[in-house]
Amino acid sequence: MWRYFAKRLGIALLVVITVSVISFGLLRLSGDMAQSLAGEGATAEQVTAIRQLYGLDRPLVVQYFDWAFDAVRGDLGQSLVSNQPVFELIVSRMQVTIVLAVLSLAAAIAVAVPLGVFAAVYRNSWIDRASLGMAVFGSAVPNFWFALVLIYVFGVQLRWLPISGSQSWENFVLPTITLSTMVMPQIMRLTRGGMIEALDAEYVRMAWAKGLSPTVVFFKHALPNAILPVVTLSAVSLGFLLGGSVIVESVFSLNGIGSLAYESIRRADFPVVQSILFVLSFVYVLLTLVSDLINARIDPRIRLN
């Protein structure tokens, strides 16, 4: 197990380093940072002065290693726009994003797992078709469109729920519904597939032969085996939701990490964009690592292979 852990950890570190190098390089290639800081009207001399003041005249390799060593110590630099420490900015915005991501994942699991189970148990029935229809709808509908429809129906017409801000739990209802539709289809399909496989397995036939009740067969014998890949997917989905809520946060004015990323890209605030990419990739890799380890712990075949 330890050997497996060390191997996965090594791969995870390599991924984080690679992402940081690529994002650093791409951001530098996307335009002249000193020019963006100085503004459109700045003269060449003024741009040069800004370049020196912010240390942008140093070789790229030096700039990267300076940033990377500071990042490892928890210092992600300062925002070029507000001069605030980037770490503080990210922490202040992360809370909303984490709440939204966790709620969305919980809502997706709460709906998708039972649906998947019923779709498998009553396969090829109207329940199965309706569940698959919902999955197709969730996969096909752009979330910004769905968000606007929810705003119009529940915010503008019915006036049941607030449509912007993060002051109360009510503010999270519509964004949670929107975001959960992004991950619900995969969880539902995976649960259905896993359940169908489990229900056809010999140990389930044995359970039926023993005269166990359907509830015990479905939820005690079949589901625990079918749910394993869902655990992995959920961990990865959480990472995806943390980084993929840019549009939903913007539409519902939640002002979390997603909207910070959007604003920072718009304002060419490169240290913030760089750090958000780094933090999100770190979280994503960490969650993937944790799910790998859980799977390896549960299923010995994984660590032995």
Partner: protein
Amino acid sequence: MNVWFTRLVAAGAVVLASWPAVAGIKDGTLTVALDSPVEAVDIYMGPGAETAMTTSAVFNPLVAYDAKAKTYVGVIAKSWSQIDPETMEFKLEPGLTFQDGSVLDAEDVAYTINFISNPETKFRLKSRFAFFAGAEKVDDLTVRVKTRGPYPMLMARMIGVPVYPSDKHSALGADYASWGRAPIGSGPYKVVKFNESTGIEMERWDGYKLGPAPAFKRIVFKPLPDAQTQIAEMMIGNIDVMMAKSPDQVAALTANPRIVATPISDMNFQYMYLDAVGHSGLSVFKDERVRAAVFHAVDRDAIRKSIVAGGAGKTGVAHAMARLCFPFQVGCPDGGTPQAYDPAKARALLKEAGLADGFDLKVSTWGSSRPIAEAVVGYLRAVGIRASVDVLTLGAYRKKQVEGGLQALVSNYVYGGLPDTGAVVDFFFSSSDRDYFGDKRLFDLTKEANTTLDEKKRGDLFRETLDIVEKQAFILPITTDPVVVIHSADVKVDAATRGNILFARFSFFESYGKTPPMLGWAK
């Protein structure tokens, strides 16, 4: 997305029009939508429209500009005089205080200017203040501001220099970026709650002496980055004021009689220029006839009416510009007749220049000018020029510009609140990396205007400069870019406010039941 949602909103607006009024000023609180969160109420640290709007509510500059009288008026400053070509002396109003009760004096003015001109101080767009050599206190109510050489735009620049209390601000040391989260100013509102994510709450400051008492007891600035969400919040009455982004939004929202659109002429405009030097390898624009043909091909009126918010209908205050400046600005010469829309003439000029079969052209653009560039490309194609749009970011566009890669550019010019023609002339003709014109006379004239303190002489220099620009078809001013304020019907907005929108944006809220100041914080 926009078209679909606009239709949806239009339908909804009609439905809502018959509903009882929900919108309205509740308990004297005005709620204003911000396009993005404000990280600090500090215009130096975060230059941008939202920061300028909030900063101008809390702080005062030394002077403001009265666009009607075309003159500067004192705010914190009572009077001023030019001591020598590089020194301006300001006498301050006596008896002024900051919101914490501390006295506002010359020390605070000198400190603020020395802070922003300190080479070690880090903030964005610092180059705007590169002209300052420093400031010194003469006595409690007298301060001398020094510039690096004669600087005729000093007064215009001073509009955008809010004064900070020296003791409180300097106490922050290297943590000066945190100032804007708990600021203390001398303006009509004080910040009572600051949260970058949820917004800013301000309360009327009863000690405000530099103008009429503010109309609203409280102002809440709410960050709503998505335009569609702003529209929805406006329709259900959760916000009282927002800025329109397109004519569609104006039309959709004003279908509700409880929502009103008031356009404000701003000092921004859209323009186009061509590579008259041949830097990019495309040499056709060395020929003045080809440049004129391109400009004749563009229907500026149609672009303004169909694309620009505030360009048509009841809210139509945008206009096709005659010059690169606005008549109410200092030094803007009258006259000016840019190439009129005449596709037949455009084709004839192209034929005359031996380009009857057209040529390939990349029209570069960035930011908010993209729809204008797309329309321009359509008009150029109509006369046989095989044009396409080249969309860039600011950094990429400037890099391309400096490297001489632009064949044609459609962009917008933002005066940034400077009511002085010198700003635009300096922008286009003082830097060699922007020279796509190849006319040395333009640069000589600009150099002279940049150091001439005599207003009459400056005006003559600007006239000569802009006449050359027009005759040689160097730059086509396409349209002004007004701000259209969407607001609930019980908020009165002063439509005459114009010019320094960064500061005026706030002043029109003052007009609620009162006679508003013309511009900024003019008394």
